[in-house]
């Protein structure tokens, strides 16, 4: 091993998988070996059995579907509002001066702290779940996009002006396309965060979803189900990340050229 020396893509996959092998081995050693009590931590085999039971008998796939729809719904809502605001803030300094202090403040408000208020305002239905995701994501997206758009290469903007671009042309044909890959990256990142909000939202006042299943299992001390639920979240996150990355690469071929 030497600093910054690259690895082949085969090695990369092998090392990545090796970690999971080590992880499961340690887990098996701790549980099967009797080093940790069953009450606190289920062993891998029990976890798989519980998982199969969840999917086959308890309709867990419906819960997964509900959770995905909430994340995607709240996230899309947030993106629709946040992207235009972020772009405007990045492009126009007065808009930034007007909104930036509030957005920076709102960004630090924990979405989970709004849950009691949101239940009061929106009940315990789907709208409340979507709003938790929305509040958790919207300010983050606005701020990060504003920074990205605001740091567009000046020389590209100047070049466009000398080519006769109007102010609108600068936004449409320089700021937006030059920031677009970054904006897609920001959305990918924030979608990951939205996953943590959805579980919190489902822990309270919910009758479906992965988070709801986890609270139910907690009451029964079924650590196998809890771990299975967490792993499912991780896998879905990994898949959405992969899809997002592939989509971005397809959308912005000039970056990889």
């Amino acid at each position: 091993m030497r600093p910054l020396d690259p690895v082949t893509s085969r090695q990369r996959v092998a090392y990545g998988l090796a970690f999971f092998v080590v992880f499961v081995a340690l887990w098996s050693w701790a549980t099967f070996g009797g080093h940790v009590s069953k009450v606190f931590l289920a062993n891998p085999l029990t976890m798989v059995q519980e998982g199969v039971d969840l999917i086959v008998k308890q309709g867990f796939l419906f819960d997964i579907g509900m959770t995905i729809w909430r994340v995607v719904g709240g996230f899309v809502l947030a993106a629709i509002i946040a992207v235009p605001f972020g772009v405007l803030m990045g492009a126009y300094k007065p808009v930034e001066a007007f909104l930036e202090p509030f957005v920076s403040f709102a960004r630090y408000l924990p979405a989970s702290a709004f849950i009691p208020l949101l239940i009061l305002w929106a009940g315990i239905g789907e709208l409340q779940k979507l709003l938790v995701i929305f509040i958790g994501s919207v300010f983050q997206i606005i701020l990060m996009i504003a920074v990205t758009v605001g740091t567009t290469r000046r020389d590209l903007v100047e070049a466009a002006y000398t080519l006769g671009a109007s102010d609108r042309g600068i936004i449409r044909r320089v700021l937006l396309p030059s920031s677009a890959p970054e904006i897609a990256e920001i959305l990918r990142l924030v979608l990951g965060w939205a996953w943590t909000y959805v579980i919190v939202a489902e822990l309270i006042g919910s009758s479906s979803g992965i988070g709801h299943m986890i609270t139910d299992s907690q009451a029964l001390l079924n650590t196998g189900q809890i771990i299975f639920g967490i792993i499912v979240i991780g896998l879905i996150g990994l898949m959405s990340d992969f899809l997002f990355k592939a989509f971005n690469a397809w959308l912005f071929p000039w970056r990889l050229a």
Binding site: R153, L156, E158, Y161, T162, L163, G164, S166, R255, A257
Partner: protein, 261 residues
């Protein structure tokens, strides 16, 4: 007819961190006639780029004004095409789309845009690269595209800010010949900023020598070398003589800068 008049243009950068304001450019006068190829030569920090940016409308003069064809310059516009030292092609557009950028902004229909762009692609020797992204091009090819992009707009004057400064010597020499070839064929008004003495003589019909801080015009030298010029002219006695003279002029300025540094 193109006449660019630079009238008493000066630029002072405001004081910062308790330092005195920087006088980048003393009041400067310069007239550039139709199809003139003027090179501005000076050491770094002499305000030559500042002057060019003011002509482009990217910077505002502290005093004086720039007039192009009787109209005062108040901001950047398509009538003054600019080529920068840094690579400023739009990375998300192909070579052809980059060259057609200004045309598209003016609402020229796509078929016509592509026809014009392709003509300029041929002119700068980039046939076969129409659909490449800027990232796939060498530095020299990127600057050729940038020149084509500025020319495709058919500007009244072409402004070049050390466009070949980041290129290696061989590429630079080829680019100079290419640019001069375009100028000799199509007759354009060109204002070209450089710190390379040979480049200034080889390309220019007139060389404006600028002095170091504060920047001002120190000398103006006519280059009466015949056109078309080939690279061979660089070894003729006339060329060498001009070079010797300019080396002296620039050296004193460079020394001044070094002493103050």
């Amino acid at each position: 007819m193109t006449i660019l008049k630079i009238e008493q243009v000066s630029r002072t950068f405001p004081a910062r961190h308790g330092n005195a304001p920087t006088r980048a450019l003393e009041p400067t006068d310069l007239v550039i006639g139709n199809n003139d190829f003027v090179t501005i030569l000076g050491p770094s920090g002499c305000g030559k780029s500042t002057l060019l940016r003011i002509v482009a409308g990217l910077d505002r003069p502290t005093g004086g004004r720039v007039v192009l064809d009787g109209r005062e310059v108040t901001g950047p516009g398509a009538d003054r095409g600019m080529v920068f030292q840094s690579y400023t092609l739009f990375p998300w557009l192909t070579v052809r789309e980059n060259i057609a950028f200004g045309l598209r902004e003016r609402g020229v229909p796509e078929a016509e845009r592509n026809k014009i762009a392709d003509a300029f692609i041929r002119q700068v020797g980039l046939s076969g690269f129409e659909n490449h992204w800027p990232k796939q091009l060498s530095g020299g090819m990127q600057q050729r595209t940038a020149i084509a992009r500025a020319l495709a707009n058919d500007p009244k004057i072409l402004l070049l800010d050390e466009p070949f400064g980041a290129l290696d010597n061989q590429t630079r020499a080829l680019m100079q010949e290419m640019l001069l070839g375009i100028w000799e064929r199509d007759q354009k008004t060109v204002l070209f900023v450089t710190h390379d003495i040979e480049e200034a003589i080889f390309l220019g019909s007139r060389v404006i020598v600028m002095s170091a801080r504060p920047g001002r015009i120190k000398a103006e030298i006519n280059v009466d070398l015949p056109h078309p010029r080939s690279y061979k002219i660089k070894t003729t006695p006339e060329f060498v003589q001009l070079k010797e003279r300019l080396v002296e002029e620039i050296r004193t300025e460079a020394l001044k800068v070094a002493e103050h540094a």
